[in-house]
Symmetry: C2
């Protein structure tokens, strides 16, 4: 029984999709693009996660493809980017058997390319995350993929430093705590949070303070803008 050659197999469609998250004004947001309204395309006018077919001629790898799509939409080229998983079956795309490679990215608000975003404003926009998705329906099975991204994100918040990748270059401990609380959807105890963070080498103080109508706060920066910290203990699950 010899293996069939690739030519004998009908090749599935291959796409890459990226769930891109940011935190703005205490809200978690995901970047979506509106699909063209041509009737020859599936889900015309629907919102979808940035993505599309792998371009064999220009994408060196799946990750390069995901980074390209992220850069095209946000101008950010070195985000936190993690492979989320792949979804492939006969029905998810009406054009045929298709498999998508899903990634998710966390981008700091201050690195977003504003002119770039405005140029794309017509067909791309940030949507508030509510629960395990957004209000409007999404194209394809993107609601399922977005839900999986949120589940992964929220799960990893319990034992990693992922929320830090949503923050600008310099931030205070309180701002980091607020990022955690945003993703967790619950409040954390200040003292325990600070000792937890400071007992690692996640952040290093910079010689500046955040001024305000109150006691100034120490500013910190991340030691690494790419690699998260893994904590030995997870935050306690509330009953």
């Amino acid at each position: 029984m010899s293996e069939r050659s690739p030519a004998n197999f009908e090749r599935p469609l291959v796409t890459v999709d990226v769930a891109i998250f940011r935190a703005l004004d205490g809200r978690l947001q995901v970047l979506l693009v509106r699909r063209g309204s041509g009737s020859d395309e599936p889900f015309p006018g629907h919102w979808a996660m940035p993505g599309g077919f792998v371009d064999v001629s220009c994408d060196a790898s799946l990750e390069a493809c995901a980074l390209r799509k992220l850069r095209e939409k946000t101008g950010v080229s070195t985000p936190y980017l993690e492979q989320l998983g792949s979804w492939g079956d006969a029905r998810r795309d009406p054009r045929g058997w298709s498999a998508t490679h899903a990634y998710f990215a966390l981008v700091p608000v201050d690195e977003l390319d504003v002119p770039h975003a405005e140029a794309n404003a017509a067909d791309a926009d940030w949507h508030d995350v509510e629960g395990d998705g957004i209000r409007e329906p999404l194209a394809f099975d993107h609601a399922r993929i977005l839900a999986a991204a949120l589940e992964r994100l929220r799960s990893k918040v319990e034992y990693t430093s992922l929320p830090a990748f949503l923050l600008p270059k310099e931030f205070t401990l309180s701002e980091l705590q607020k990022a955690y609380e945003l993703l967790l959807g619950r409040a954390l105890e200040k003292s325990a949070f600070r000792t937890r963070i400071l007992s690692t080498d996640l952040i290093v103080p910079v010689s500046r303070l955040r001024e305000g109508p109150n006691r100034p706060a120490q500013l910190y920066r991340l030691r690494s803008r790419k690699t998260p910290i893994y904590f030995q203990r997870a935050l306690s699950r509330p009953d």
Copy 2:
């Protein structure tokens, strides 16, 4: 700028590969198949992980494809199966731009289909895992994928019940501890291990004992043969 239609894109090759692990006599083993020796195929005669092209006509989904390959090689149809990730680039397969969806499975020795295995004995065999791979070279980038599977597996041992899926239907706490120690590569403290396991509802005692030339041991079974337990705290990382 309208999206190009799928017909305008050269479609990558799409494959699924499965790293199938078992524990035998204190050794962790991975199932490999030998590739055909025809010169029209890449890596003739090399060992590779079970896998191959997605068959659009018979595979309903990627996971169904992985389960099919697992069942064909082992006879096991309900293993612990987890998606590991995907690897895709222009160079990993000499036949062209290809993307593989990698899974890993943990199978109990007592569920392996022995006649089935013997029928395939010529082209499939279990290989001892040594370090982050096996002794012999592997086809394609399977060494990299196997290393990733082992890294994921060993990482999750620290905070999940994954080793339990390597055990037969009924087992003792000592056998479970040995499975942990096999994957961790280090000894665990008995008392702490037992408290950790018994404080969850991972296992339930059955009304039988394992007899031997010593004090009999309580036998247990898993509460769920599919879903792992996640512990709140990881085992401590040795310095």
